[in-house]
Subunit: 428 residues, 2 copies
């Protein structure tokens, strides 16, 4: 058994440059586990030694290799380090082997593709070596899950209609002409139609008064055919958002943003009437993919009232050990790297790099960020908070953007509306 340390230049492995030693060990162990311990294999451990070539790094690589082989059951195991930059090699003459080129390198378990990587070293000319691609994370298919949920909801609604002759109703209030808001509202209406929820829409001009909005809310509060009321945010700046949202009666607050709901969500032994849609969708994805939460370390990045904070409270309710990382956090990478489950909701494209992710972690990406891309017809494409390309090589599961959390939000809105109708009509 041999461990070779190979410097190569894929963007994936360059992340190791920034790693703490603890993470390096974990990383090495992770790779080790993916290899068949009974075969006479060689592992590749990539380090961009040009950047980190310091005395202590080499000592650490050596230590790491020793640790791996100490924990291995094979008594004949040997650690060999293959370093592509030998300027400091003389510092540890006894423990670090001299440069040797590897010709056949197996990496990961079952990935079908392989790619050619060019390595550079000071003791030999650049050489091309063949490595298998890394095992990629399971893609958490929010689109499919949301579709399943919509189908389940449709079944329940037709049962409800049959049994008591009532279908759930959702009222949406849209103020102003924001294009994105109009799109959201249109999508919500479409989703309601698809499952059999009646939707009621009120569109008010940008210069409407707060009182007009409050009047409409009040009417919907009293309307027995409406089970959920949704005020599309943001409201025009001349309105007090808090006043408007507080006017929605708590039994119809399908958004779940009422402080009383949030308070109940935070408290043990209390039950919220509604759980906010996006964080509920995140947890639902974990459940549907059988990802255990209890006892896991979870990091929520972002602490908004709409996603981050309620997501943290939900994870806590499921017995995760939760940390919230936010703009004032001094070492977000370090903390995030400890997480078994990461939920990111900050709105920063590609902020969470591969180096932030513990091998095997589960990543839920709430961010939907447009970035310029002249190759796209619209001139931009949507990316998440998590750098998918890097993180998907480290994580065990990840939501894509788009097609991850996005479709779940509306599915959960439908679910909350159905829940409300069932509660109001004392069904099951």
């Amino acid at each position: 058994m041999f461990v070779y340390v190979v410097m190569y230049r894929t963007s994936t492995l360059m992340r190791l440059r920034l790693l703490e030693q603890n993470f390096l060990y974990e990383h090495l162990r992770h790779y080790y586990k993916t290899l068949n311990p009974n075969s006479n294999f060689r592992a590749i451990i990539g380090l961009r030694l040009q950047s980190i070539c310091k005395l202590h790094t080499m000592a650490l690589i050596d230590t790491a290799a020793t640790m791996i082989f100490t924990s291995s059951s094979s008594s004949s195991s040997t650690a060999r380090l293959l370093l592509f930059n030998n300027t400091k090699l003389h510092k540890f003459p006894n423990t670090i082997s001299n440069f040797r080129r590897s010709t056949s390198l197996h990496f990961g378990t079952s990935s079908p593709t392989s790619r050619t990587i060019v390595t550079h070293c000071s003791s030999s000319p650049a050489s091309a070596i063949q490595v298998n691609n890394e095992t990629l994370a399971t893609v958490i298919d929010g689109k499919r899950v949301a579709k399943d949920i919509r189908e389940e909801i449709a079944v329940e609604i037709s049962r409800m209609k049959e049994e008591i002759g009532i279908v759930p109703g959702l009222a949406v209030i849209l103020v102003g002409d924001r294009k994105d808001s109009a799109t959201y509202v249109r999508n919500k209406k479409k989703a309601c139609d698809s499952v059999g929820i009646n939707s009621y829409e009120v569109r008010l001009a940008e210069d409407s008064t707060e009182e007009e909005v409050l009047n409409h809310i009040s009417k919907f509060n009293d309307d027995p055919s409406v089970h959920g009321i949704l005020v599309q945010l943001p409201l025009p700046s001349h309105m007090n958002e808090q006043n408007v949202l507080n006017a929605v009666c708590i039994e119809k607050d399908v958004d779940g943003f009422h402080p009383l709901n949030i308070g109940r969500l935070a408290m043990r032994g209390r039950e919220p009437l509604f759980v906010p849609c996006t964080p509920k969708g995140c947890i639902e994805l974990l459940h549907r993919y059988d990802i255990p939460i209890k006892g896991k370390r979870a990091v929520v990045i972002g602490r908004s009232n709409i996603v981050g904070m309620p997501a943290a409270l939900l994870l806590q309710r499921e017995d995760a050990t939760v940390s919230i990382v936010h703009s004032r956090t001094k070492n977000p990478e370090e903390i995030t790297r400890q997480a078994d489950i990461i939920i990111s909701a900050v709105g920063q494209p590609n902020m969470v790099r591969g180096s932030w992710v513990k091998p095997g972690a589960v990543l839920i990406d709430v961010g939907i960020n447009p970035v310029e891309d002249p190759e796209c017809a619209r001139g931009y494409r949507l990316v998440g908070d998590i750098c998918y390309e890097e993180a998907s090589k480290v994580a065990s599961a990840i939501t894509p953007v788009p097609g991850g959390v996005g479709p779940m939000t509306i599915a959960m809105l439908l679910s909350n509306t159905l829940l409300s109708a069932k509660r109001i009509h004392n069904l099951r």
Copy 2:
């Protein structure tokens, strides 16, 4: 400048045995900072090498020393490692010096006492070396702070009486004959008297009905001379605590346990009417001791509705990066050890050991746990969740038990009652 690594056997330093490397660095840096960088000093870094004497440990010590001296401004600094077990020394012949015994070792800055420590090593017989004791943490004197706050409240109340002829009123409802509850209620009454708050007390028999309690709450809700209502918990088991607490009108809920209050506490941009007394007291202690919270790592141990959860929300409001550790957390020591601020509220005597604490951390101990002690007149004494003896040698500040958070809870109840009266009467 020299760094010596000395193995010795105090219980305090044996904790290093379990440390992660990252923590080791931090530890070393911490010690380094406590020494005068301009003098020709020697630092002691304690490691129980018998337990951890492995190749990688030495590499890490070496790395650590290198890092420390790289970050030091002195160009003439040298790292010297003094190892008391040299079985593996040959592995790093160039970087680790051979065994040398130190005779004068300075440790910490200003501690007056010193003690003798026996060291063991394989290359020389056991020897006695003299080290100064560690610097002890600042004791956060909750009793004194609570007294200050009571005095401030008394001044405000007499001003209020002068200006509008009204004094705050606090109503307490006690059901049953629990001795501890009776004591708490008596103490609250006494504290009210001391600052000039009118207290109203209702005592009901153990077998009273829930309705009777609700009737009393309703009367106090309507009574304009009552500004705060407190139902002493726990209630007899035949009553629904949630129903009873929900009956207290939110404007008089000085305990701050109403879900609406908790929801507002959790939400950014919202303000709770009242903050629960014990967590409010914890944060007040930090403020009064000028301990910065913003950007700090905070760990709250315990997630009760009464202390742990609201304490976490409060720390979060002050821009700390908060993690909540609870009974389902798999590695509480490891997480707790990352914290700059620890608030412990679990009710487990001495659960948080010295090894759980990062050097320089601030410790707020909410636990008040009786442990048997035949030497005490009562047969028991009170200890906190944090092992004071060990932790006070590592922390920079710590609350004692008793005399730490305890006295703050009642002070904050008085503060909330005053706040309520001022709000109801539109004062400032």
